[in-house]
Symmetry: C2
Subunit: 117 residues, 2 copies
């Protein structure tokens, strides 16, 4: 499964409005939102996002994740790739390690569409 | 794939806070949230929620949905079952037809966990 970079900020600019619950969503917007949700809809990926966000400087390397998740490094690398490709995480390579941080606003863009009436 | 009724309101009561992005999420909470997101991560299901919400009285029958979606009635029924089982829609049977409405707060509960920092 591959995920292309999604224009998350295009879904909605307001984290507390709820276009989804107020007007019929366009088919193309439904496709885009479904792809973003699919990238998030995995317990390991949710935990990775959460660990990265809770880490000092909101940045974590793979070693930080292997410490907290009972998953192999290749499995964690796969989940990280999905989250980078779908626009939720960015990667910065420094020396031997890659460091991952949350893309600001990426979660709130999705949340904005889902926020209830 | 089946979805059990999820305690969506237990994830968070505040649609604009973001527990996920502030502290490491517990594995059980990640499982619950992932199941909810998986139920939503389908373009047809997102469109169904949107059509139901935008409809008069925020209630729609299968006939309203077949009018707007280019999907067979069995396929729509499958998606409706997933959304009912996962706690996003409720069904009320009146006469020949079943009417579906959005469970208040179900989308905002999920959005509350995702809302960005």
């Amino acid at each position: 499964m591959t995920f292309t970079q999604l224009p998350l900020t295009d879904i909605t600019a307001d984290a507390c409005s709820s276009p989804l619950a107020r007007a019929a969503i366009a088919p193309e917007s439904a496709d885009t939102l479904a792809r973003s949700l699919k990238a998030l809809a995995d317990p390991a990926r949710l935990r990775i996002i959460s660990i990265v966000s809770a880490h000092a400087d909101q940045e974590a390397c793979v070693c930080d994740l292997t410490d907290q998740l009972t998953l192999s490094q290749p499995t964690i690398s796969h989940h990280l790739k999905v989250l980078v490709d779908s626009g939720f995480l960015t990667r910065a390579k420094r020396g031997t390690w890659s460091y991952y941080s949350l893309v600001p606003g990426s979660l709130s863009s999705v949340a904005g569409v889902l926020a209830g009436v």
